[in-house]
């Protein structure tokens, strides 16, 4: 479990998180990026940039 840096709600990552994975805070919808796995730490994900896409 990680704490959303934006609203301090508890966010539960997937059972097998991956570094760089994006998880969404169920409370404030902020996007968090998984930074480390042991322990699991997350931070606000980078803002979408102009040339991002498919």
């Amino acid at each position: 479990m990680v704490t959303c840096p934006e609203c301090e709600s508890a966010v539960v990552p997937a059972a097998t998180p991956v570094i760089g994975e994006i998880v969404e805070c169920g409370e404030c919808a902020s996007e968090l990026e998984i930074l480390t796995l042991d322990p699991v730490r997350a931070a606000l994900a980078p803002e979408i940039e102009e040339d991002w896409g498919e």
């Binding site: 991956v18 760089g20 994975e21 994006i22 990026e33 980078p46 040339d51 991002w52 896409g53 498919e54």
Partner: protein, 288 residues
Amino acid sequence: MSRTVPLAVLASRVRASEKHILEALGRRRIAHQHVDSRRWWHELGDLGPRPTVLNREIGLARATYAAHALESAGATVVNSARATELCGDKWRTSAALAGAGLPTPRTALALTPEAALTALETLGYPAVVKPLQGSWGRLVAALPDRRTAETVLEYVAALPSPQARIVYLQEWIAKPGRDIRVVVVGGEAVAATYRRSEDWRTNVARGAVSELCALTPDIAKLAVSAAQAVEAEIAGVDLIEDGTGATLVLEVNHGVEFSGLQQALGDTVSVADRIVDHLLTKEHPCSA
């Protein structure tokens, strides 16, 4: 990138699609390395063992330069730098589609907003203006008439980037509230979905809903031809149906997101496994 790992997945942002791919590789015990492109750098020269790199970098500039750098060092990059460049630029995509003789909406390129207004007199209204780069329907605007076009193009003229002031225009296609997304892997259409929306922009990122679409031979053939036209080995091909029953190719995405498609597919087909299967046709990947 390790000199000993023959298969790498280059990605900064691990979306659901990237996670599906990484999980498929892990489940199948295929040795691989996930490389965070934000930390990757390369000094000109040989990479040693020729790796196969699945390029899933979300940023077009980073994806393109990484592909060029890796290819210059002897890596096999999927999709290639050329495919990434062609798909990443709407005009180059349109030119490649038209060059291959594929049906695509009437499209014009104007080098200034002023020239765009003139071009619109020929293209006609309504029309659509799109940024050359970008995805998810961002900054795509409908131009129902000249007054709207003058207003939108005034904003375009004020954009700071010279490239952003190059104007890509397309005829308006009265599609039936949906488009068709086809995933193509290794020259084969894997699956298709309708993307339905109340909005005229039927991007899932804008709230469109995916539901399965029968992969008819005609749809499959058109999508595979479109992917080949832009040299993409893995592609998300967007098709639209016009009012006459014809199907047109709108664009081809080199970094296709497929989590919505996978949800619609359920357990019938694993897109991630099809991508892994394709990577295994390249040299080197081996069991862990």
